[in-house]
Symmetry: C2
Subunit: 220 residues, 2 copies
């Protein structure tokens, strides 16, 4: 029914493979252009907000034609994900890297989620739209694919759960990855409420702690 797509999106060639067989000028131009686009978009989104930034402004700041932008991102929303995906990935990695293994599992989880929350608190206006977009992630291979981010979060949480179980012989037997999903679902839905302006930071954190405790079976 829908008309066939006419405009092809460029291949997403971050890390063109385990071995680099000489990039070639075309590839280098593409990467450099992508970097300019993402840089320009980041600055403009931060300075003016998402709705107040036009794709024309981004194209001008990146010194490319208006149509070229849409070869690198299918929509303005995709561009938003593209721009902040790496920061979110770094934030998540940093959150797991700074976990204190002497703390309780609950405290460890709160450390991870608080760190990720703080990232979004920097710019609630951006976070609101960004998290709405992330609700329905793009397919793997899509330019704005976030599967790596989700993977880092889920496996990171699962690792914390597994490590905590070694110290507790009476722990639950559920697969750690499922527990991780359950934990993250509670964080994410609460975060949506937080950036939607329906709870204060402290309310969010207090409630999150209780929700996580229900899942890991620790009534603290």
């Amino acid at each position: 029914m829908t008309g066939q797509r006419k405009v092809q999106i460029l291949e997403n060639t971050l890390t063109p493979g385990p071995d680099q067989p000489r990039p070639g000028r075309r590839e280098r131009n593409k990467q450099e252009k992508l970097a300019r686009i993402v840089g320009a978009a980041r600055q403009l989104f931060r300075e003016r907000g998402f709705a107040e930034t036009t794709t024309l402004q981004i194209a001008e700041a990146a010194d490319i034609g208006t149509g070229t932008l849409f070869l690198y991102a299918r929509s303005k929303e995709d561009l938003l994900v593209l721009v902040f995906r790496d920061e979110m990935l770094q934030t998540a990695r940093a959150a797991f890297a700074t976990v204190n293994s002497d703390e309780s599992l609950l405290d460890q989880l709160m450390h991870v989620f608080t760190t990720m929350l703080d990232y979004h608190e920097q710019d609630p206006g951006i976070a609101r739209i960004l998290l709405r977009e992330l609700a329905i992630p793009n397919a793997v291979g899509h330019p704005a694919d976030i599967s790596e981010l989700l993977n880092v979060i889920y496996s990171g949480l699962a690792d914390l759960v597994i490590a905590a179980r070694r110290a507790d012989p009476y722990s639950q037997p559920e697969p750690a990855l499922l527990v991780a999903e359950n934990l993250f679902a509670n964080y994410y839905l609460g975060l949506l409420g937080r950036v939607g302006g329906r709870s204060s930071r402290q309310q969010f954190l207090d409630r999150l702690r209780k929700l996580l405790a229900i899942t890991i079976g620790d009534a603290g």
Copy 2:
């Protein structure tokens, strides 16, 4: 910073109060027009999909001016919520009303969530956009406010939890409403994955059952 809103949205006067002090022609016209808008939008969204329906088409089908549409909904997305909110509310109420109290809590929860899932399975294209919008609900009093729907779901789940506890003296002591939030978070995030095309119906249900079991402490 942002320019002040110029266009006022009409008061949302569903149920103008416990007592009806005679509607008046103005009020009747407004309600009738809203009904025409919602009816026209529902049919067009169903027939052609959200993106393929224009606000002009909706206005024509409802026999109103293009600008009038935006007195009843602030945006096309609001219109989508406005259109399907009542159906979702009815579905949720029906789901809770048909719970079999002889079943285990887990089976009762699965009945509720399966019923709500089936509603969205009818039109995955609409569900995808609708659930994305619902991720960040509008403020109470907004024309497309869904607080009543959320309230029905949360309190319904909490009631099931409370009822199940009467039969189990060793149950968890957490407030039932928090448990309900935890349960719903798992349903909602899984549903987003389902309508996002990242799991089959059966995969979603199997995983949901396990996630719910973790929360209510029933390893079944």
